[in-house]
Amino acid sequence: MHFLGEVVSWFLSADNWSGVNGIPNRVWEHVQISVIATVIAAAIALPPALWLGHKRRGGFLAVAVVNIGRAIPSFAIMALFLPISIRLGLGLGFWPTLLALFALALPPIFTNTYTAVRDVDPSLVEAGRGMGLKEREVLRDIEAPMASPVIVAALRVSAVQVVATAPLAALVAWGGLGRYIVDGFAVRDNVRVLAGGILVALLSIGTELLLGALERRIVPHGLSRAAGELVPPPHG
């Protein structure tokens, strides 16, 4: 396997481990934009989703949000926002990509959180109220923990999708692991393209494992992951 041998030696080459175009810097850029996008999406999606789920209201919003997420390709968002970003003086690559990744991450988090909280067994919620818990305490102490397996699973799905989609950033002049794929393709360097693809895949798997570990810590014992209830994520 001559080609795979070249890919291996690409990974072993010292040149590819230092400088702006080195693997550490590109991974760091990739992680940076992915984390920021996912955290902002979670911060914006979680509070209203928890509250609407608790009130068992706004189901149409949950459906609409996930449908919109499915309907608009990330690349279209980048292309639409790019001229605006330049006009606002925000530059080329980072902000358009961040917005696209944010829009990709938000729908699964919002919809799954909403659905999970809403679908908590009403008898448990009633029991809580019967014991004199305030509404906030019902949400905090009963509904949120009960819904936590689905919520954390949604965060995990969003994060993995964001990591796998962030290579698009290279198309609008930002860094990240997409640089290897885009630049490699431009000079027909298939070794570099595949190496970039492998790195993206590894980072996605790493994200999956890391958040899986987090899931096991956060989710209360006795609650098995209800992965089957997860609303399918939009296509990147």
């Binding site: 149409f60 609409a64 608009i72 790019l82 630049d183």
Partner: protein, 322 residues
Amino acid sequence: MRTNRNGFLGAILVVVFALLLTACGSGEETGTDNTTATTAGSETTETTAANTVTDGPTITIGSANFSENALVAEIYAQVLESAGYPVDRNLNVGNREIYAAALEDGGLDLVPEYVGSALSYLGGTPTSDSAATAKALSDAWADAGITVLDPAPAQDKNGIVVRQDTADELGLSKVSDLEGHNDLTFGGPPECPEREFCMIGLQDVYGLSFAAFMPLDVGGALTVAALEGDEIQVALLFTSDGVISAKGFVLLEDDKGLQPAENLTPVIRQEIVDAYGDSLVDTLNAVSAELTTAELSDMNRRIGIDGEDPEQVAADWIAANL
């Protein structure tokens, strides 16, 4: 599920959002500059060479499958028609592999070519010297019964471009003027750092260095946006790109001859030249003598950016120049 009842509302929301998006999109488009150069004479002013040429083979004019090449072929066609030659158009044939083969086997008689690319296609090595490259192309194609006429000054090749304000501020008119301005950022296609005719040549031939290189696209919208937005100060675009004319960018002269010559040149089957003689050659050479890169850029802008009709653009150019 409860969401079933609300699915309808959700659908409406999605539709409204989609409409909003399209509204934004079309607003963006109509915002582009629509000023069209209104040239007076819409009809070609008939050149006097006259309708005397009646008997002889029909000249089938072909072109590559992009608008600039088809435009130049259209100019050839209109000029020959008004001089009385029987002309058949077969534009947008395909890429060089296709139209060059058609030219060699007689399916096409006349196409506009780019001297450097055509010479590379035939296995030669083009240089920045237009005349020498055209001569080499002529020699390379002679055996196949193809004649290369005079190259026009107009070229479509890699061009180093800056904004007008940058050019004014730093006094730039040639690529070598960039020497010493190491604080500028250069933007171009992602493959640029590894290409002789891009970053490597700029460093080795011109001795330039830039603050950074920004990987963008191949002479496309991203590069233009980056240059306009001052993300980059120096860009690689194609010399005849209509956007240079549209945005008022300044094309720096390749004074050290880094880029191989890509002059537009009529290439024609020898049997057609034999049939009609010097008057045909002179008619086409007269077109080449007048066609400049700036005019080509302007015509590309009218077609590609302003959406004008190529036949009209060709007729306007002929009226103004021949």
